[in-house]
């Protein structure tokens, strides 16, 4: 049984469990949306003193910060106890495309080219992580949500704004993948 769990899980298990998580949050009177944690953390750090956007009762969002801490613990448990350390089995076509822009075939879950300490301590690697994070934080708040809030909670509630946001996610993702990544790497 444990051997089976340690293998990567098929895609259909993921959607089911994600919706189970969403159902648990709804049952406890909350909603599924992760990126608002960034706003909460800014507010908890005192950003509300200078910027009105962060002047709200952030303590009411403590439950979502607890969800965030759970997500970190879930990652830790997966890595320590539920992983066989195998490389991600992406398609051959992707491996070839990535090799063309200087990425080695997958050795694990994440590319060394971005997530190793070596990459972090190069100026380029540092700016990629900082800049990418900035785009995620700025874009999710400007657009009013991220993958959980718009693509899952919003689309499933047939919200047109969420569809527009998801189209935006793909415009940005395609531009980055096909036009910018070859220039960056």
């Amino acid at each position: 049984m444990l051997e089976l769990i340690k293998q990567p899980w098929p895609w259909y298990t993921s959607g089911i469990v994600i919706v189970l998580v969403m159902a648990i949050l709804l049952f406890f009177g909350k909603s599924f949306g992760f990126s608002s944690n960034f706003r909460t953390i800014c507010a908890a750090c005192g950003a509300g003193k200078n910027v009105k956007f962060f002047d709200f009762n952030w303590k009411a969002q403590t439950w979502n910060l607890m969800f965030l801490i759970g997500a970190i613990i879930g990652g830790f448990i997966s890595n320590e106890f539920l992983s066989n350390g195998e490389a991600v089995q992406i398609s051959q076509a992707t491996i070839q495309d990535l090799q063309a822009i200087g990425f080695a075939a997958p050795q694990g879950l994440q590319p060394e080219e971005i997530f190793s300490t070596e990459a972090l301590f190069s100026l380029k690697g540092f700016l990629i992580l900082l800049g990418g994070g900035f785009l995620i934080g700025f874009g999710s708040r400007y657009g009013g949500g991220c993958t959980s809030g718009h693509a899952i909670s919003g689309l499933s509630n047939l919200q047109l704004p969420s569809l527009i946001a998801v189209i935006g996610f793909f415009i940005g993702g395609l531009v980055m993948t096909h036009l910018l990544l070859p220039l960056i790497f």
Binding site: V17, A71, F76, V88, L109, P111, L120, G137, G173, L180
Partner: protein, 137 residues
């Protein structure tokens, strides 16, 4: 321990995102290159089941544990903010290969450099708050 249930829900989320490899930069690249069904399968199943869940809750007017009706608030109508904000988000998603949830799940895996991306996310959110009134919404 009123927060324990949220921690447990987060743990479940972290495990399933890890085990289905949805937190992997490689999987996001594969998705934006349309070279596998994997991520579309995950998002497609999630949206379909979530739509069924939402429909059921609305139809039978289900209530939460405290007896309050479960309400789904409609998003404000607009195009600009969702399209521009979404596009900016997409640029970051494809570069880092993680959206906000997976940033933290990856931290649990011990990818410490991602702390810089998380810090970037906070700076980006702060910048939005700072310039909110000057941006088209």
């Amino acid at each position: 321990m009123k927060f324990l249930k949220f921690i447990l829900a987060g743990i479940l989320f972290g495990i399933v995102m890890s085990k289905s490899e949805a937190i992997s930069w490689y999987r996001i690249q594969e998705m934006f290159r349309f070279q596998a069904f994997h991520m579309y399968g995950i998002i497609g199943t999630a949206v379909t089941l979530a739509a069924l869940l939402t429909y059921t809750i609305k139809k039978y007017k289900l209530r939460d544990i405290q007896g309050n009706p479960i309400i789904f608030t409609d998003k404000e109508k607009s195009v600009a903010r969702y399209l521009i904000g979404g596009t900016v988000f997409g640029l970051g998603w494809a570069l880092i290969g993680a959206c906000p949830g997976p940033l933290f799940v990856n931290l649990g895996h011990g990818y410490w450099p991602i702390l810089v991306a998380i810090f970037g996310g906070l700076v980006g959110t702060y910048a939005y708050g700072l310039f909110q009134n000057k941006l088209p919404h």
